[in-house]
């Protein structure tokens, strides 16, 4: 189905939605671990390999093949569970989730059912308004990813209307951790923001744990959003009264793959449900597909009897019984929680709240940290990473770390400025060169001949020349209009072809024109 043919469902305004209904969300996040090998076989997990070159009898589900658990998969699962403040099961099993689907080689997914490795946790999420919302975690369990289908024929390359599909099983069997929240209640108008903030905080946490690449755009982190509405308990109702209202029918919007989309999809589903309910209709329990381009969801498969997954304990695997001492060892390896870490860094670096938020949104925390460690000032590090580089990275839709500039480059550039070799304008030109791949900042400066002229004689001569040529301006300064010196400085810089220290030029001009 192409974007144009999506008939937009009617939606209620968000204000009307919230006036009449109370939203309840449930978020399921699937995270691909960054292990070297798959969950149950030794195949490599490189992203973007040629189709069906990272497969073996096990992950292809060939007759006779058997799984063996990747120890690192279990370790990462436990570390994730601990970071989410979960309890870790002392004994748990894998289970088979049975359903037929062409991209699932065995036609069952090896997963966990009633015995997840981690359960009963929470994650605190800071919101823009300064409040904190506690997301209760129901469980985090281990499972495996499916293959990937390419739909051929039809008009659009989408699944609907395709003539046939081509399947690549490289992704099949890559370890996944599925993190499931409890129903999130009491969010009210903040629901879409909470959804986004939760996924964002979770992403940072997983990144800090080093267990996943958490690249939503590559699908290594994927979010399914369950949304339902229930009627407001009435004006003045207590939160306990609201909580007592039974939950409405939910829809599950699948594979919402950016932070922005999470927020938009939740808001869309809330307003769509509201319109249906407000018109006296009822919500069908179904999966929905999110369309990034049009910002709407469309109906997928209805929930039905066919969702009988016939779970049973995986007989080809033995139970996992993580030793309590080992779990404590793993707990000791947990990094500082991202929220606390950010608070600490903000204080260390002296950034304002606004500056810190920009830096976070640019995904520049680590880069700035490394840049400062390499010798740059905190303000210079923020200026470069949060400014020009972030702008360009955003435009190119890549991570700032993929722009070809290293923290060491920035520190080197900042050093050149502080040593007085470059001024700001020259530094920007040097950065331009570094971004173009012309080499290190020093190499770029050398190649482009960028260097402040240190010869005072040349500068003094230029100052004299400019004063002589602009007598009316000079007189204004003499008369006390010091700001008029700016125009003279500009002239001097022009005369010097930019290669002068503007502060020094100002100093000289004022010394000439003002009585000391």
């Amino acid at each position: 189905m192409s974007a144009q043919t999506h008939t937009a469902d009617s939606v209620l305004s968000i204000d009307d939605t919230l006036a009449k209904f109370d939203p309840v969300m449930g978020l399921e996040v699937h995270v691909e671990l960054n292990t070297n090998t798959k969950m149950f076989c030794g195949c490599a997990t490189e992203f973007g390999a040629d189709p069906n070159t990272q497969v073996c009898p096990i992950c292809l589900g060939l007759p006779g093949a058997l799984p063996v658990v990747n120890a690192m998969g279990v370790e990462s699962a436990i570390r994730i569970g601990l970071a989410l403040n979960c309890e870790i099961a002392s004994w748990c099993r894998f289970a088979r989730k049975n359903y037929f689907y062409p991209d699932m080689p065995k036609n069952f997914q090896t997963s966990q059912y009633d015995e997840p490795i981690a359960f009963e946790g929470y994650l605190d999420v800071d919101l823009d308004d300064g409040t904190t919302y506690r997301v209760e975690i129901e469980r985090a369990h281990m499972e495996e990813d499916t293959g990937k289908s390419l739909h051929v024929g039809g008009s659009t390359g989408r699944i609907q209307g395709a003539d046939y599909s081509l399947v690549d099983y490289n992704r099949a069997g890559i370890p996944l951790i599925e993190i499931v929240t409890k129903p999130l209640t009491g969010a009210g108008e903040r629901a879409p923001e909470i959804a986004r903030a939760y996924v964002s905080v979770l992403r940072d946490l997983l990144k800090a744990l080093g267990v996943s690449d958490v690249r939503m755009e590559q699908g290594s982190m994927r979010c399914d959003a369950n949304v339902s509405l229930r009627p407001k308990a009435g004006d003045g109702a207590t939160s306990a009264e609201q909580l007592a209202v039974p939950l409405g029918t939910r829809t599950e919007t699948k594979n919402v793959n950016s932070l922005r989309s999470v927020e938009r999809a939740v808001r869309y589903e809330m307003t769509r449900h509201a319109a249906v309910l407000d018109a006296g209709g009822s919500i069908t329990q179904e999966t929905r597909h999110w369309h990034e381009d049009t910002g709407v969801t469309t109906a997928g498969r209805p929930k039905s009897d066919a969702d009988d997954y016939r779970y049973f304990p995986e007989p080809d695997l033995v139970p996992a019984a993580p030793d309590a001492a080992w779990v404590e060892e793993l707990r000791a390896t947990l990094p500082e929680p991202p929220a606390e870490r950010r608070k600490r860094l903000q204080a260390d670096w002296g950034y304002s709240d606004l500056e810190m938020r920009d830096v976070i949104n640019a995904g520049a925390i680590e880069a700035i940290e490394e840049t400062i460690a390499a010798g740059a000032s905190a303000s210079a590090a923020r200026k470069w990473w949060g400014g020009e580089i972030a702008r360009r990275a955003n435009k190119a839709d890549v991570a700032i770390t993929e722009m070809g500039v290293t923290p060491a480059d920035i520190a080197e550039l900042d050093g050149l400025v502080r040593d007085g070799r470059l001024n700001d304008a020259m530094a920007r030109q040097v950065m331009e060169g570094v971004l173009n791949g012309e080499g290190s900042p020093t190499a770029v400066a050398d190649a482009r001949g960028l260097e402040l002229v240190q010869d005072d004689g040349a500068l003094e001569a230029a100052v004299d020349k400019v004063i002589a040529a602009n007598t009316d301006m000079a007189d204004k300064v003499r008369g006390g209009k010091v700001q008029a010196a700016g125009a003279l400085i500009g002239q001097v810089m022009k005369e010097m072809k930019g290669q002068a220290d503007a502060a020094k030029a100002r100093e000289l001009i004022l010394a000439r024109l003002l009585p000391s």
Partner: protein
């Protein structure tokens, strides 16, 4: 335990992705009803507090190190495929994403 009806068999056959024609359904339903009744006797054997046994031997924590092993080549992987294209398995159109 109540018996297994023809409709039950038809439903389960759909879950199991096995097409059965009417004759097969009739025969299968008769045989399975008998078998289900016979295996159903088991419901009276074990008390609630008997732990279930999913593995014959009490092993735990069998894992392998996270080290890459040799994979099959795409050619080997696809050697048994009923149809393939561009080093991928070609499958009939898929009704809906799960």
């Amino acid at each position: 335990m109540s018996g297994l009806s023809r409709d039950d068999v038809a439903h389960v056959a759909t879950l199991a992705r096995i097409h059965l024609n009417d004759d097969e359904l009739d025969t299968m339903a008769g045989q399975l009803d008998q078998i289900v009744e016979w295996v159903g006797q088991i419901s009276e054997v074990a008390a609630a507090d008997v732990p279930p046994m999913s593995h014959p031997l009490p092993l735990t924590n069998v894992t392998r190190p996270d080290e890459v092993r040799e994979c099959l080549s795409a050619e080997e992987a696809l050697s048994g495929a009923p149809a393939s294209e561009e080093d991928r398995f070609a499958v009939p159109r898929i009704l809906d994403e799960d």
